[in-house]
Point group: C2
Chain length 436, copies 2
């Protein structure tokens, strides 16, 4: 439902013989955006080789050979992208690596070919690895100066420890690796890791003003030769009741992170959960904003958001408070989660539904955003969810639906809690008391 | 040039009798976005009352009386916005306060009225000030944990000290104020400060599918009674050659900020300057990205961007590096700026122009983005610049135009340099040597 455009034509999913799924939405206008999602993320880094995916993604762009046999070095490849005037985006997430490009429609075939060249025929020059390892190390140093990033990594490490015996490093480390693992990321293991990046489980979302058959021809020419690769989800075994505190004596604030189970994208309670999350944290009248910020002035920023890992949904709550008021902040967050099973009021329900409906209208607006949604929909929901269908599903929900779901949803009972700040104000005891 | 929409109809600027300028673009679709820019920012905070604008913006939303005489308390006002399902944005910048709302077109009049109520008939309850001051204090504590934010504040303080005798605090402090000034922000001075917020110099950018006459009627009903207010630009007197180092012994990285003069938005060299900035920092083939990151692995992030203050343009360069390599990073940044007067190559020029042209196509895409551009255009350029006109102007530029401009543009000769990190690696001497 992009503003100004006719309702999106829902092209059926196309699948290349090699396995790549293409989700395409035709839209009038001069621009295109595509988003290629390969199901290999930092969680797939081999144990002891944390950062492999992050480093490899950078290394891929250090040169490639075109289908016509011309070899571009690092500079030549960068110039080729910039000559098109396209914008590149994406990056390495926990479960997937995304390569995104947007630009003017005439340049779509060339941009697809460049991405294909990078994935299928990369040069992988060993002489570049030192600089790339240096950059990864700089990124890790930067993380040390960012309490919110450190907290997020620690929260995931505590809530989702890797299952014993798994070959994967899992959710315990930043995408840039660890100071130790970076020493082991040499050419041979990185080249071996590249074998995972292929068509199996990969999704390409494209928005452009093209005939679907033409688009498919371009995609086939550019990516049809991509290796099969591997699609091996990394399990996320949530640990309820875990707690950790990271001591940062010099921190001016104490940062709090709570993680709890949520609802899987494919579960019928997905939309009721989204309504509940919006009532909890979706606007200036939301429960957390009101209780933590407006009523008590405990934290400048407070939020709750869904986190999706291994096909499951989780609730993640964040706040940062003056160290002396951190225990009270944690108590208030806890109390707000604990009263969720009592349900929403009719006004809260209406407000949350109206807010989600409006977000939906705006979510289709940008080419880049919509290309990402197409890819995400296929990866998480197994299909593209038409915006009109989502809107109708929201319209059909009732307060009773939400409250029937909430009656059985008690995130406060299964929290994983991580705090970061000075030790003096360590709020862990309060958590233990509240959880008892 | 939004994708999917017909070329934007350029409605002439409308002006309310009280002085408010309305920039309107009609666009088919279910959504609207507006952006109200009032020319009062943190630079207008009275000396000793730093944070006045930031606190007042929060206080305004703590209750208001409607035109019909109904008084909404803080909660009632938040509920009224959330009942509409609209999203609020904006905030307090150095030179202006922006109040932005987006949602579904049927709710545009109600949203305009709520913003009018807040500005014209706020309750300003004194009982809320303690909580708001607490929040501002928390925000300041959070800044202490963010090296990049601290660096940005220090860079502005050093480069733009307030002229002696000015009643304004100027560009020396964060929008949340200072620990000391927050003690003096009581009800009386804040109420007095509100007198500045009015129609004079204010701009409302609106994108919606409405008849211009209807839009003007809604705006007049909602904002026609807004006080005149004051439009008093705060001068920014740039200090070339200044240097400062902020000691952060625990920082893992040294953060570097360079500021230099640039080009004013209304100057004929504005577009040549944009081309030069894009060649310097606009893509993976740009000079800074290549010299600092790709060739030497000195910094994970490096960027140059334009900063507009007091109708002038300035160049701001940022990088963060391992402390031991910070001096080298600073040298490389310096060298890249110093060779700008030698001009761009033809390939660099083509690439930068292509990149800017593509950005232009995407910049018109989102309702919120376009509403903000309308407001910004009027505030900075005195009119709305049609995207087609900008594109034609880019097309008409030649390499000679750019290089004629660059021959007289030597930012390295007039730098203000601020570094933040451990003292041991303080790179100030290097700067002095380089500037000598």
């Amino acid at each position: 439902m992009p503003s100004g455009a006719p309702p999106s034509p829902t092209t059926p999913l196309l699948t290349l013989p090699g396995g790549l799924t293409v989700a395409f939405e035709r839209r009038a206008g001069p621009g295109f955006a595509f988003d290629l999602r390969l199901p290999v993320g930092s969680a797939h880094d081999p144990r002891g080789l944390e950062g492999a995916g992050g480093l490899l993604e950078e290394w891929l762009f250090k040169g490639a050979t075109t289908r016509a046999g011309r070899t571009l070095d690092a500079r030549g490849l960068q110039d080729a992208f910039d000559d098109l005037g396209v914008r590149r985006g994406g990056g390495v997430g926990a479960e997937a690596t995304r390569l995104s490009v947007s630009g003017l429609t005439a340049d779509l075939p060339a941009a697809l070919h460049l991405i294909g060249d990078v994935l299928i025929r990369p040069v992988l020059p060993e002489g570049e690895l030192d600089v790339l390892t240096d950059l990864a190390r700089q990124d890790l140093e930067g993380l040390q100066d960012s309490p919110t990033d450190l907290l997020a990594i620690e929260a995931r490490r505590v809530a989702f420890p890797p299952p014993p015996g798994s070959p994967f490093a899992g959710f315990t480390h930043p995408a840039s690796g660890t100071p130790d693992s970076l020493r082991h990321l040499t050419a041979a293991p990185l080249r071996a890791h590249l074998g995972r990046y292929g068509q199996t489980g990969a999704v390409l979302g494209v928005v452009a003003d093209l005939d679907p058959a033409d688009l498919l021809a371009h995609v086939t020419a550019a990516l049809g030769d991509l290796r099969p690769g591997q699609n091996e989800p990394v399990p996320a075994a949530f640990q309820p009741g875990t707690q950790a505190h990271v001591t940062e004596e010099d921190a001016e604030q104490t940062h709090l992170s709570l993680t709890a189970p949520g609802v899987a994208p494919t579960h019928p309670d997905w939309l009721p959960w989204q309504i509940a999350l919006t009532a909890l944290s979706g606007g200036s009248a939301s429960r957390l904003f009101h209780a933590v910020r407006e009523e008590r002035g405990l934290a400048y920023a407070v939020s709750a958001s869904p986190v999706l890992l291994a096909g499951q949904g989780f609730l993640s709550v964040y706040a940062a408070s003056t160290p002396s008021r951190a225990p009270e902040t944690l108590d208030v967050l806890h109390a707000e989660l604990a009263r969720l099973p009592l349900g929403l009021t009719a006004a809260e329900f209406q407000r949350a539904r109206t807010g989600l409906t409006t977000s939906l209208v705006f979510s289709g607006e940008s080419l880049r955003g919509r290309a990402g949604s197409l890819t995400r929909d296929v990866a998480l929901f197994g299909r593209v969810r038409p915006l009109a269908e989502l809107r109708a599903a929201l319209d059909a929900l009732t307060l009773d639906d939400i409250n029937a779901f909430l009656a059985g949803y008690d995130p406060a009972a299964q929290l994983s809690t991580v705090t970061l700040g000075p030790d003096a104000a360590r709020p862990a005891r309060t958590v233990e008391a509240a959880c008892a």
